[in-house]
Structures are given as structure tokens and as C-alpha cells.
Symmetry: C2
Subunit: 344 residues, 2 copies
């Protein structure tokens, strides 16, 4: 099986699982659920049914593939996969509020359409539904022990996610952000969710011990590579392809790895820090930042870091291969390679 085939097999089933999770449960709170559906890409701003771009669904796919790789039945993992995707989307709804972002995936964000109070609460509802999804595992024959273990991994990841988001926001007020600080932040903000997705898939397949740790490590490495690629695309990506405004990533003074590298660079660091210590950026400031990033070699250094993270992911798969636990190995390799070479 190729990744494209796995994607076209599982994504529609994950989508069905998500849709049934997000059905209106209480008529008098219909709009609460319809706004969740809007965020997922299934409704337009008037809340009429629609089909907008809905994100890449990488996290749930990873969960299903890890389950398969560890010798499990991928169908059993679908509810957990849906819960993981929903958790990711909850975090986007709140991140959009916290980052004051008015656009995501070429569409207005929930808070920009319905206000912060409604959107904050919609996020909380998605958060609850994400947890509720895991109880469907019991109906698919997953053992109580495995469900408890999966939910615990999920909850610990949620907490790590808020730590990562806290660190990300605190970076906005700081000029002294080291590369180490940066990695701690993304390990919470992106790595934790992908590590948990991979681990939870393996838990459902019955994996334990070293095997489980390697699935976790693979997911964490994939998460790091993915985030670093995101940092590159957020500055040098094609706005038409990514659906995100490039200037926004710089205007908001986000401390992505290229920026952190330049802030700490022996030659351009001082000028970079002066720029970042100054008042709010205007669009006119963007070229100066880009030129300092260039002088610092920030793009190449970040590309090198992507390569290293990718190698870590491959090494984890290699270790799993040695214990013969891999039946969807090619897919996990292809997933990693696809993510790090993506353009959007």
C-alpha cells in the first residue's frame, strides 16, 4: 500500500467519525455545534453546509498508520484518530483567539465571525468532544486497559500543548530566546500531539515498552520536522499555496527557528534584536528582517535541522524494524518524507 492509497482509504473514514462526533446533540445549542462544523470546513460563514479546505488530517492518519504498523486493526483506531484531530482543531480555535489571527485556511476564523466569547466556548466544546471520542474505542473492542492508557497519553499531551502555547506567547515579550528554548516550545506545541498520535495508535494495537517508546519517538521527530518546515513556509512559503499571510508571521514577531537563529547570530544578532525590541512592526519593516535572516543563513540552518529531525524519525522506525514490529513501515517512511518536502 502507498501513502496515497492509505490516505484515500482512511481519511474519509476519519471524516465520517468526525462528522458523527460533531453532530448537533441538543437542538437549543445547535449553533454551538454548527460553529464547530464551520471550523472543520463543513459549513460556510452563514452556517449553511459547504465543503471548504479542512486541513491535512496528518495527525489522525498517523494514529491509524501507527496502529497498523504495530500489528493492530486500523479500524479500531478511528475514534481515537478523530479525537486527536478534534483536539488539534480545538487548539487552532483557541490559538486564533490568542494570536489575534483573523484568517485560517483562506477563511475567516471563528472568533472573527462570532466573537471571542462564543469562539472560546466553542473551542471548549470541541475539547470535550475530543475526549468523548475515546469512549467509542470500547465499542470497537479495545480493552479497558488500553482505553485508559490512551486517554492518559491524550490528557498528558493536552497539558504539554498548553505549556508549549504558553512558551510561544511568552517569547513574544522576550528577546533572549535560545535555540534550546525554541525546541522546548515546539516540543509542546507541535511535537506532543504527533508523538501522542503515534503512541496512541500503537497502544490500541497492544504495543508496550520499548516498542511504544519508539512509536512515540517517531511521532515526536515527525512533529519537530513538520514544525520546522512550517517555520520555513511561514517566512519563505508561497502565500497562495500556504493560505497564510507571510508578512503576518514576521509582523507578529513570532519566534520561529529562523528568527531565533538570527537573534542569536554573532554578526546580525544585534541588528536583529534592535529591530525586534522596537515598536510594533509595520509592513515596511519586513524586507529588513528578511535580509538579516539571509545574512544569518537562517534558512539553510533550519533546513539542516529538518534533515536531522527526519533522520531521528527514520532511526526510530529502524529500531522498530529490528524487533519486527512494522507492517506499515513504508507508509510511515513515506509520511515523514512527504511532510518535510511539502510546499503548504
Amino acid at each position: 500500500m502507498k501513502l496515497a492509497e492509505a490516505t484515500s482509504t482512511f481519511i474519509p473514514r476519519i471524516e465520517d467519525e468526525l462528522r458523527s462526533l460533531l453532530e448537533v446533540r441538543t437542538p437549543s445549542a445547535a449553533r454551538h455545534y454548527e460553529i464547530m462544523q464551520y471550523h472543520m470546513g463543513w459549513r460556510d460563514p452563514e452556517l449553511k453546509p459547504a465543503q471548504a479546505s479542512s486541513g491535512k488530517r496528518i495527525r489522525p492518519l498517523l494514529c491509524v498508520l501507527a496502529c497498523m504498523d504495530a500489528g493492530g486493526d486500523p479500524s479500531q483506531a478511528l475514534p481515537a484518530a478523530a479525537g486527536i484531530e478534534l483536539l488539534h482543531n480545538f487548539s487552532l480555535v483557541h490559538d486564533d483567539i490568542e494570536d489575534n489571527s483573523s484568517t485560517r485556511r483562506h477563511r475567516p476564523t471563528a472568533w472573527s465571525l462570532w466573537g471571542v466569547p462564543i469562539a472560546c466556548n466553542v473551542g471548549d466544546g470541541m475539547f470535550s468532544l475530543a475526549h468523548l471520542a475515546f469512549f467509542r474505542l470500547l465499542d470497537r473492542g479495545v480493552s479497558q486497559r488500553a482505553v485508559l492508557s490512551a486517554v492518559k497519553s491524550f490528557v498528558e499531551m493536552n497539558l504539554a500543548l498548553t505549556e508549549g502555547q504558553y512558551q510561544d506567547m511568552s517569547f513574544e515579550e522576550r528577546l533572549q530566546v535560545s535555540v534550546k528554548d525554541y525546541y522546548a516550545m515546539i516540543s509542546g506545541k507541535t511535537g506532543a500531539l504527533l508523538a501522542a498520535a503515534s503512541e496512541i495508535g500503537a497502544i490500541i494495537a497492544g504495543a508496550t515498552g520499548d516498542s511504544l517508546r519508539n512509536y512515540r519517538e517517531y511521532g515526536a521527530a515527525l512533529g519537530r520536522a513538520f514544525q520546522l518546515q512550517d517555520d520555513i513556509l511561514g517566512i519563505w512559503g508561497d502565500e497562495q499555496e500556504t493560505g497564510k499571510s507571510t508578512a503576518n508571521d514576521i509582523l507578529s514577531k513570532k519566534k520561529t527557528l529562523p528568527v531565533v537563529i538570527a537573534l542569536n547570530h554573532p554578526d546580525v544578532g544585534r541588528r536583529m534584536r534592535t529591530l525586534y525590541a522596537g515598536p510594533r512592526f509595520e509592513p515596511d519593516d519586513v524586507p529588513a528582517v528578511l535580509s538579516l535572516l539571509d545574512l544569518a543563513g537562517a534558512r539553510q540552518a533550519t533546513e539542516q535541522a529538518v534533515k536531522e529531525a527526519t533522520a531521528r524519525g527514520h532511526a526510530a522506525l529502524q529500531r522498530l524494524d529490528e524487533v519486527g514490529a512494522s507492517s506499515a513501515h513504508e507508509l510511515l517512511i513515506e509520511l515523514l518524507n512527504t511532510l518535510v518536502s511539502r510546499r503548504s
Copy 2:
């Protein structure tokens, strides 16, 4: 045992459980946890250790007492009790954002001190920690089956809470809110959490079937009585005692039961709706609203509703008594009676 004795026995142990849950887990995200601790009343606005008023801790107490009443060991319920209290406090942090409230328990709210982005994420962290608390039940010898059942009840309650909050916010834009709508809203916003607190305590004690349903019903009735009393205090309570601004509840046009009764009243309804349809209230508008509430007999009607909810709670306890499942019965009766006669 009297309620005062049970309170002084269990509240400090619940507090210890809460404090150990909210310890700083990651030094680089220390402030993330310290802001949670501020909200709980353990730190001042400079985040130095302090002891401020911290709420009544009714929900965790109910959880522990229900466990005891159902024949369980109350110590086993402590982690769940702490999780329930933490969930309640998460919802307050987000409600304060959503209701634009700058004061709670005589202190500035988290968002008013650290901004909406930080506070929203702090709430999400508390939400995750509330779930994490339940995994401590396994260390106290609670069975996997009971833990799964408790977490499921908890998660379903969380979702109901967001529905209730959605309805509460949607009422702000509506003049047509029936008494039935009102009860649907508070059953999510207040009833669900107290129903779950009581149910979860009983689950930990091993209760099932009818017995469990009666614990749930007792908690739901207590929640309703509690909320109705809150509505009364929010309008006619002593600001010095409640720590909340009376005018604020009317100024924000909150659809509490007294207001809903007056809006639907055959004589004063029209005038009340005209007032509520008009522009934002100024402090000068408050006396006119108070006088219409008076003419509608809204206070007496709400007091009557408190009595009915209290009777429902007593009836649920009576049914539990008949099957001989009650060993902390007097305490649950006293808890109900205390809550409905409180002044703050």
C-alpha cells in the same frame, strides 16, 4: 458527623490534592501554573504566595460525601473531587473572559491581569489538569472500570457545561427566553457539574443502576436550587457579602430566572421587554428594572422554585434511604439546606 466537621475534615485534604495537582511541572512554563494558582487564591497579582478567598469548594465536597453516602471510602474520591473543583475553576477562568468580568471573589480576574490570550490558555491547562486528576484514582485502588466510568461522566458533563454556557450567551441577544429555556440553560451550566460530582462520588463507591441515578438526581436538584439562589443573590444579595456587584448582573442584562419571569409576565412583560430591547443599560436604569421585578413577583416566584428544587433533592435522598444505601445521609440533607439558605 455534622457538615461543619465533614467540611473541616475534607476541605483541607481536597486543598492538598489541588495544590499537588497544580504544582509547576515545567520550570520554563512556571508562570502558566502560577497564574492557575493565582486564580485558586494561592497567589497575589504579583504571583507571590498568598491566601485569598478561594470559593466554597461545594462541588468536591459533594463528590466526597456522595462517595461516603454510597458506602465508599471518601479518601478514594479525593483525586476526583479535586478534578471536579479544578474543572469548575477552569470554567470560571473562561466565563470571566466570555462575560468580560474584571472581578471575581473581590480580586481582579486572570484575563484582566494577564490578558485574554494568556488567561484563555491558562484555562485550557486547568482543563487538562482536571482530567489528569482522575488517573490518580488508579493509585488509590479504584478499579479501571470505575475510573473509566467516572471519566466518561466527567467528559459528558464538560460538554453539557459548554452547551449551558452557549445558551447563556445566546440569551443575551434574545428577548424571547421562556422559563423552560432558562431551566435547560442552568441544567447545563450549573446542574451538570453538581450532578456529575454526586454521580462520580457514587461511582467510586461502586454504586450502579437506580442508586447511581438517584445520586445524580440529588446533585442535579442541588445544582438547580444553588443556581436559583445565586440568581436571587445576584439581584437582591448584599454586595459586601457576595463579593459581586449587584448592578453588574442587571447591567449585563443577564437572563436569570427573576428576569425571565418578568419578561414573560402578562402585566409587566411588555415594559420589561422594552427596557431589555433598548440600548446598553446605564446604572440609572437599574431601579426601573428592580421595580418591574417587584411588580412581577419575581423574587417570590424564584424563592418558590428554590423550595421545589430542594424538595426534589430531598426526594432523591429519600429513595436512596429506602434501599438503605445512605451512610452520610444527614450530611447530604444539611448540605442542601445550607446552600439554599446561604447569603453569599
